[in-house]
Amino acid sequence: METKLLTQFVGDPQQHTIERAIEHGAYQAWQKVLKEIAPAALIQIVKDSGLRGRGGAGFPAGMKWGFVPKDSPKPEYLCCNADESEPGTCKDRVLLEGDPHAVVEGMMIASYAIGCHTAFFYIRGEYDVSQVRMSKAIDAAYAKGFLGKNILGSGYDLDIVVHRGGGAYICGEETALLSSLEGDKGLARLKPPFPAVEGLYNCPTIINNVETLANLPHIVMKGAQWFASLGTEKSKGTRIFSVSGHVKKPGNYELELGYPLKDLVYGLAGGILDDKPLKAIIPGGSSTPLLLPDKIDTKLDFESVAAAGSMLGSGAIIVIHEETCIVWVAEILAHFYMHESCGKCTPCRQGTGWMYEILRRIEAGRGKMEDIDTLLDIADNIEGNTICPLGDAAAVPVISTIKLFRDEYVYHIEHGKCKVQSQFKLRAK
């Protein structure tokens, strides 16, 4: 069963309007924060709640806020990361389109906690409806006096600026997002210094994911203990899981962390398309290692998925049935990372291209047996040798597919064709 905390009202076609959102309780948490809660206390509440980042890394949100220097003479900035681009992931879009005021309110609360007076909403350029809804939501919040100068007589000022990206996966990486926001190419930056100390315009900056922020109004209204009662010991709250690929009922499902993968895939998502046998599951977006069917009893929380050999990542579950050529899957993902590498670090810039070329050659039936080890060698030389996680992410599908399906690679090279055909057709109707 779903636990609809963040998605409770997204089915309401009018929820994006401020009137309906307020009817459903929007901005109560914001008013409570302004009246009753000091920033330090707010940070403590979020720390106590156990909320971890929903972008992919799962870093504790309150702790991240705590890294902002207390005595900095520079202004602090908040950036909402809505550059959702990890293949398989479309859960932030659910909130941006379906309940934008929850995201705006989350940005307000986070801004207040870190002492920020200018916050940026960085959204991937292609998300048209999301961008329009968020812009309108922000305008409506200004009109109601929830944003601007001396908000509701509190003496606190806050502006939110909507910033559209230009189409680049790398800008979801937080330092690349900052480069992009400064008007540059989206090149990742070496850490340290971490953005919390030196981020946008060299000022302390916190970057939080959309879904992370949308949790804040609930935590403020219902308390840290209530939030910490949801989920598992170390993975608190709910997550919106995007289930895509070979399932009968693909969709976004909000579940308490620790929900069984099997119940999601075979229950809520309706089971495997055409009742074919399951081949593999990518559990946390394209940058996470594949899981074989024997891992179907894994629970969906950060620790359990890690113990099964993968990562919960962005919560994007991509289901692959048996009639899918795994080399073809690896080739598609390699093309993606080649296209999206920002080009700053040599191992990633060159290695992603080499991996794609080799995979394309194998897929086209011209592979050589030594290609398999060459792929692993390239992946190994990218991993850990780049300044941002894109390099590691690019290595993952290559290493994981070879590790789990080496026989298919061998077959492909020996026979010059796929072991299983995967020419998926568009449905007629």
Binding site: C90, E126, G166, K185, T324, H335, K425, L426, R427
Partner: protein
């Protein structure tokens, strides 16, 4: 002068919202693209003047992102997602079907000037795959029948 006065005004007003005007380079490129459907060196120069930055700063930024092409495209730019969730449900077939139906090569403009088909990476529509973006709009859960209907609709809209 290629950018309209209203576009330039929009760019200079947007710049005021940022602590540094340079941050408005991407928003400015969006304004220029929306007005013309492509970018050019002349537009970079005019944006640079409005924002008081160097030409090369605008050119560098523009060259990095996929949404600021210098080539003109058809009136309807069809972007087919080629990434994994869409591919598992037939996006490669979708691209081939569109190219065949419109009698055009990837990236080119149809003879009537109406369509350009390109393949793009994940557009965040994975649970409603396969999908394509036509100009600003997403069209999801595509089938042959749906694609046929959409193309007819675009043709009749002209």
């Amino acid at each position: 002068m290629i950018l309209s006065d209203s576009a330039k005004l929009q760019i200079s007003q947007t710049a005021k919202r940022y602590p540094k005007a340079r941050s408005a380079i991407l928003p400015a490129l969006h304004v220029a693209y929306e007005e013309h459907g492509y970018l050019s060196d002349q537009m970079y120069e005019e944006i640079a003047q409005v924002l008081d930055v160097k030409f090369i700063e605008v050119a560098e930024a523009a060259s990095f992102y996929t949404m600021f092409p210098k080539a003109k495209r058809g009136k309807y730019l069809i972007q087919v997602c080629r990434n994994i969730s869409c591919a598992l449900l037939g996006s490669h077939h979708l691209t081939a079907y569109l190219l065949d139906k419109l009698n055009v090569e990837l990236g080119e403009i149809t003879a009537d000037g109406l369509f350009t088909v390109v393949e793009v990476e994940c557009l965040g529509s994975c649970t409603t795959a396969p999908m394509m973006q036509v100009n600003a709009h997403y069209y999801e859960n595509l089938t042959v029948e749906k694609v046929d209907r959409l193309i007819d609709e675009f043709r009749s809209r002209k």
